[in-house]
């Protein structure tokens, strides 16, 4: 692998956020899960002491926000302890959870530990369909109870809805639910098509008309709820003319740590061939951020091919997503095909054309096929 370092690099800013993927264990099995297709085992997970050290290193490096995610981060018994250490270091602490195991006792321990915010994911507003999508009976009801618990504890709540062709018709009802739950923020996030999402693309990708209707719904709700609820909206790349600034640029603002401790510039980076990702067990976080070859590989603009190299958006979208470029073109160093200027852009339209009238069955998220599910 060649590490491209730019000669006139500006001084490196500290990372803003650390995304701690605590575990890949999860009671749900969403077919669009952002975890990699090859999931890490519980026995290989980073131990508590290493996490505590990493949190201290993160604070010293200038990380401002800690996102505890998974899998289901509540599956880690030491989560309250880690939240407390992060809060003591003045980091903003956020938990991204499915909520199904967020009981009274855990809620109290997290509050006591100094948690700042919880993001709760929903699969739909119709319980039966929500439970079908998440692959767990009774999950939706438990999420509603968790939302109530979060609000009763006085914490701000973000209600996250991942949307796709099998629930997109209910986005208006999702926004109503978020409002009724007292969420200060909601996320209407179209599935991103990497890993499991890519595997299930035909079952998930909405039509152009569905996308446009949803965009109009979100815009109207934003105007109506201004000052009361912030709505973040994430669109699918398949109908876009320009790519998203994936991770705000490779290794520009975030460090992602996998359950086993590998430091990644983005959650899907392990899907890329030719990389060796070092572990936070072995290398200090500051060294990884500054000089790890995997972090340097696509940082900045020096690595870019045309049309990005001479494009005036190259420091706006950073050439899009490396993992999407690899997944759809076989080369991580090409322009993201979501960009209409990319020579590969036609693959997006081809995928839309291939999605079919009726969605095929889901391939649910699971540990590798040889093992029993769950």
């Amino acid at each position: 692998m060649s590490a491209s370092t730019s000669e006139s690099a500006p001084p490196l800013a500290p990372p803003m956020g650390l995304i701690a993927e605590m575990t890949h264990r999860c009671p749900l099995r969403c077919p669009y899960c952002s975890n990699p297709v090859a999931l890490d085992r519980a026995g290989d997970e980073l131990d508590t002491d290493t996490w505590l050290r990493v949190l201290d290193e993160a604070a010293a490096l200038g990380v401002l926000q800690m996102h505890f995610t998974g899998g289901e981060p509540l599956a880690r018994r030491d989560l309250p302890l880690l939240v407390r250490r992060a809060a003591d270091a003045q980091l903003y602490t956020n938990i991204i959870t499915s909520g199904v195991t967020l009981d009274e006792r855990m809620m109290a321990r997290l509050i006591e530990a100094g948690i700042d915010h919880i993001q709760l994911s929903f699969q739909d507003v119709e319980a039966a369909n929500a439970d079908r999508i998440g692959g767990l009976a009774g999950a939706h009801g438990r999420k509603l109870a968790a939302a109530q618990r979060i609000r009763e504890a006085g914490l701000p709540l973000t209600a996250n809805f991942v949307i796709h062709r099998q629930n997109i018709a209910r986005v208006p009802a999702m926004l109503e639910l978020a409002e009724a739950l007292g969420a200060s923020r909601s996320e209407i996030a179209h599935v991103q098509y990497y890993g499991w999402g890519l595997r299930n693309r035909d079952a998930l990708l909405p039509s152009r008309a569905e996308l446009d209707a949803t965009t109009a719904t979100v815009e109207a709700a934003r105007a109506r709820l201004k000052g009361r609820m912030v709505i973040d909206y994430v669109v699918p790349d398949y109908y876009a003319a320009r790519p998203k600034a994936c991770m705000s640029g490779w290794a520009q603002r975030f460090i992602h740590i996998s359950p086993t401790g590998r430091a990644l510039p983005c959650h899907a980076a392990e899907s890329l061939p030719g990389f060796t990702f070092v572990s936070v067990r072995d290398v200090p976080l500051a060294d990884i951020w500054r000089a790890d070859p995997a972090f340097l590989r696509f940082r900045g603009t020096a690595w870019m091919p045309e049309p990005c190299q001479s494009c005036d958006r190259r420091e706006i979208d950073w050439g899009g997503c490396r993992c999407q470029a690899f997944a759809l073109t076989g080369d991580a160093a090409r322009t993201d095909p979501a960009c209409a200027l990319s020579p590969d852009h036609a693959v997006m339209a081809a995928a839309v054309a291939a999605r079919g009238e009726a969605p095929p069955d889901f391939v649910y998220r699971q540990f590798s096929a040889a093992d029993p599910v769950g």
């Binding site: 500290p14 803003m16 956020g17 010293a60 490096l61 200038g62 401002l64 926000q65 003045q90 903003y92 956020n94 700042d116 915010h117 993001q119 006085g154 914490l155 701000p156 973000t158 200060s184 923020r185 201004k226 000052g227 609820m229 912030v230 973040d232």
Partner: protein, 93 residues
């Protein structure tokens, strides 16, 4: 800009929003869920006066006493800034 803000109102940070000094950057930061930004120097002056007790009018008075600008100009600037932060879900007015 729509009508002037009520100067008797007391601006507060929203639940879940933190405003603190970051020693690593040597800068003030506003932190919230999925949000983090470094306010510019004038915004920092305003945000440092938000304590959940001081009214908007009180904040403007304080700034007018310390900075050499007509009160009406300061009131206008502070109003625009706080409205923007309110739209972003960082403060309530």
């Amino acid at each position: 800009m729509s009508g002037a803000l009520d100067e008797a109102g007391v601006p507060r940070f929203c639940r879940g929003i933190k405003f603190r000094h970051d020693a690593v950057r040597g800068a003030w930061v506003v932190l919230g869920p999925e949000r983090a930004f470094l306010p510019d120097a004038p915004a920092v002056e305003v945000l440092r006066l938000i304590d959940g007790a001081r009214s908007l009018g009180g904040i403007i008075d304080d700034l007018a006493a310390r900075f050499d600008a007509p009160r009406a100009v300061i009131a206008e600037d502070v109003g625009v800034m706080l409205r923007d932060l309110s739209d972003k879900g960082a403060v309530t007015l």
